[in-house]
Amino acid sequence: MATAHQPPSTAPHHPAAGAADTAAPALESAFDAAVAADERIEPRDWMPDAYRATLVRQIAQHAHSEIIGMQPEANWITRAPSLRRKAILMAKVQDEAGHGLYLYSAAETLGASRDDLLDKLHSGRQKYSSIFNYPTLTWADVGAIGWLVDGAAITNQVPLCRCSYGPYARAMVRVCKEESFHQRQGYELLLALSRGTPAQHAMAQDAVDRWWWPSLMMFGPPDAESSHSEQSMIWKIKRHSNDELRQRFVDICVPQAESLGLTLPDPDLKWNEERGQHDFGAIDWSEFWSVLKGNGPCNEQRITQRRRAHEEGAWVREAAAAHAVKHSERKEATA
């Protein structure tokens, strides 16, 4: 979108005052037209405050999920049972940190600051994906997370590669590429277990039993109860409903579970010839809401670890900042 550029001297975030009042309707209709024409909105383009706020909230929540999501998997780095698996897992956890970095950068293009967003995460004012409030109890959980959780993330995020906001869409292209590696690696890990000893097979089945339902909840509440969906669809931040994406994910997973030689823990799961899709059982939404409100098995633990890492790292960040100041002063002095 190139039509509604703000001159850099005006305050692009607050079009409410003075002259902006008269400009707003024209800008707004240019914005609406660009979105309708599937053009990309770029950081310096005019955008409605609510659009900006929605994006910041969504991108921040996504970034927080990437960095909190490192914890359940990092839990197994020091115990990975072969050096090859250890290397794959370390690289995966590193990728998630990288995703966090791109996403915080994307949020910064909207005027947010990483420090401020982290404060909001640490104080509970912003959320992260509830899936990471479940524990990784065995090695097989690393595989189940890769296969199901990264798999669900991809299903959610592939449409975001066409999101109306340029920097977010571009970040998603890169992220999705890496998530699909993670998904395949998780699948391959589970396959090795499933075809391994009886104890390994049982470990894989147990992990899938525990992660299946929480993975379905990753798509968010049913469409009827989803609070932000409608406006996000109009803005092309969101392109498919929660239930559509959930259905797509179930249809992808069923044949993969068969190839894995593992079962999905849902007696009502069956192919519906008429719909050309799988029917599946009712999701326990009371569990979803309860975990979201803070009562999941690991909510407290995850946020405590995050906060502690941040607090214990404060002196390091202060030192780097102090050093940078000294360094630039010295440069100036010698210049």
């Binding site: 780095i77 020091t78 115990r79 049972p81 050096l83 370390m90 002196w315 390091v316 960040r317 780097a320």
Partner: protein, 258 residues
Amino acid sequence: MTPTPVSPASPGAGPAPTTTEAPALHAAALALGDDALVLSHRLGEWAGHAPVLEEEVALANIALDLLGQARVLLSLAGDEDELAYLREERAFRNLQLVEQPNGDFAHTIARQLYFSVYQTLLYGQLADTDSLLAPLAAKAVKEVAYHQDHAEQWTLRLGDGTAESHERMRRGLDALWRFTGEMFQPVPGLDLDWQGMREQWTARVTEVIEKATLSVPEGPQSGAWTAGAGREGLHTESFGRMLAEMQHLHRSHPGASW
């Protein structure tokens, strides 16, 4: 090396002329491989705990490089997973320096500084020999140059940052100093200039520490009875716990593949 005539499980068993290098080569690969394996594991413990997101990425990068080196080296000495997961503490040949617990970020950086300068010099020399480890060294030398740069930059930031970071960096450098002498004990199978390496190491580390407004620790560079002990299989207490964690799952499923 032709892999067929000698069994790695019985080094020194046969007098075949083509294999005289093998036991010493295995010992050298094991020593360097264990260094890389153990330090990679320690750095892996930082995942999810680093002071800033960029350092999650950087520390994981270094850990991954080291793990890659360890896998090549251990595979030269035998089966990588058997060697990593089924040896007892006393059979590991790594330096005591690399097994030291992470401590705070400054402590980790001090360990990185001491070790990465050593590894850069060692691989640099090794790459120019006709050793069978030379190709690995030639590739790794580029990786460890980055590790050294990372450690040096942080030593400067922390040493010449705030009063608190200065003090923490000083404590890290002091605490690990006594593990640095062991690095220059010649490793059998590596025909290198160990004395020259010690001199270059001391010169570089001194330069960085002084630039960071700190001073080179004054104490001895090895403990009284444990000098050179890591290379001989004598380790420090925390190492057993590290191995217990690292090996537990693998050992719980004998014969399983992953």
